[in-house]
Assembly symmetry: C2
Homo-oligomer: 305 residues x 2
């Protein structure tokens, strides 16, 4: 597509050791930037900014390159790659962190290569709001900035987060965290409170209950794809990557395109959770994406009077 | 509409004393059959089967008659009308029962008047499964039977419930109860388990997260209307009444009509919760129903490729 624009993805690149009902999956590729980049790569060119250690394997680098992902912004630092280990409950509705070894990610200070600084579409993965602000200070006139955040920053870095939000076009946040940030419970109250903090638009992810978009006066609801997930790791990041990648691939930021982007984000998330780690994001093809978008449309279709 | 067919509604007619953040609302009109009948009356003729005590007020009788609801099946028994009292949490996500005075409802034994026995559309409100079966033994060749149930019967009358389900066309159940009946967590597993118990189709209500329809191979998702509810009492019954009333009003039971019926049920439920008790079900007009259906359509609409 001639309108195709690149996206910049900043966030964690990691190993995840996952325990679930299928067994233990040691050191699979993970991290928010990994999932978001792979998801977005189905729609547009991706530039990745992150840090890994000397132990990061060549075949992981090759995997990114195979998907056309630009790694000029991926720093290889002395030390080990970020490693997270967690255990999911059998119904996959919650997980317990067993180990968080930040390693080289502890000192992550995103440096945006000069060649990336005019990237029009920017994905601020879930890192400290101060670092997300530092990224925005380095990019020039982005057309659309999407940011993720989490409970840890809402509690521990609220002031920085409140500085960030007015500079964000779309805040993508899960419902529990949205409620934490708002202090209220109901979707319309939460959305109103969060939009008052500055982002132009808002996506509230409800996990197995789907996602909502609030853009100006518009509200849009997307169901979760009805399926039994295998591994929910990376679902939110795949959503965000698919969402922003879709918009950049069309170079469109109007409310109707945001609606379609939510469906494409949901499509990537639903494919992501069908396998362990990033596996299914790699095997997915354009036909399968279109097929699932069509399935989403049929899920909500009802006849007129 | 010439296709218009009547529905039979069997269930509780009650007084509810509601405590919520707005205050105490003593003895407002309530009960599953009340909400379902009023909701359905916007689409078709309703025949009500229930029982009230000598204290039941004339103006409540007049309210039903004003909505064209046939009360031949409403028995007035010696004693007091069923009275439920409960308190909602401020966020309206849960409620505590303070008092359940069954009164004349304790001996409710639904007798279907001869003039009702050929009613093609039947709503079995949430009463003991043995009584729901007794209703089915009295009606002749219904075209569509919709049944509601609750945790109390799933626990305490499971055998009767399992006898009932193969005779039900559409089981309408909330997600917590659906999980209780299935023993599994995830929507697609729960739906599969419940359909195995016999109902031809299934609606799983997820409260603030909307509703799902499973009909044959078809799955349909309806969002909850994004609004701050005032009083959730009767939402599920208004949904069921709106759902069945819509189908009877069109005399249609095909899967596409079931989809539209879910939206019309959601429309009535969303109007119901906008006021205390049944208030908003009485003031609603056809134009407002159409307007909300259109709003539901816009909530899930996204552009094609």
């Amino acid at each position: 597509m001639s309108a195709n624009q690149p996206i910049l993805v900043v966030g964690s690149v990691a190993f995840d050791t996952l325990h679930n009902s299928l067994g233990t999956h040691p050191k699979v590729l993970g991290g928010a930037a990994t999932y978001a980049s792979l998801a977005a790569s189905h729609f547009t060119d991706v530039r990745l900014v992150g840090v890994v250690g000397r132990d990061y394997p060549d075949d992981a680098i090759a995997m990114f390159r195979d998907r056309g992902i630009d790694l000029e912004g991926l720093t290889v630092a002395d030390g080990l790659t970020f490693h997270w280990e967690g255990r999911y409950t059998d119904d996959l509705t919650s997980r317990t962190t067993l180990k968080t070894e930040l390693n080289v990610f502890a000192d992550f200070m995103p440096e945006i290569p000069e060649s990336y600084r005019d990237t029009p579409y920017v994905m601020l993965g879930n890192i400290a709001p101060a670092l997300q602000l530092k990224v925005l200070d380095q990019v020039r006139n982005p057309k659309l900035v999407v940011a993720d955040t989490m409970n840890f920053w809402i509690d521990g870095a609220r002031d920085d987060l409140l500085k960030l939000l007015p500079r964000v076009d779309v805040l993508v946040i899960n419902d529990e965290e949205a409620r934490q940030l708002s202090g209220r419970h109901h979707l319309v109250h939460v959305a109103s409170d969060l939009l008052d903090l500055g982002p132009k638009s808002l996506v509230i992810k409800q996990g197995e209950y789907g996602a909502w978009l609030f853009a100006g006066e518009q509200m849009f609801s997307a169901p979760a794809f009805p399926m039994a997930a295998v591994d929910p790791t990376g679902a939110g990041d795949s959503f965000a990557g698919g969402f922003l990648g879709y918009l950049a691939g069309r170079d469109a930021v109007d409310p109707d395109s945001l609606r379609a982007a939510v469906i494409h984000g949901s499509t990537l998330a639903s494919r992501c959770v069908a396998g362990i780690g990033v596996t299914d994001l790699l095997t997915l093809d354009a036909g399968e994406i279109d097929e699932r978008v069509t399935a989403f449309r049929r899920l909500v279709d009802f006849p007129g009077a």
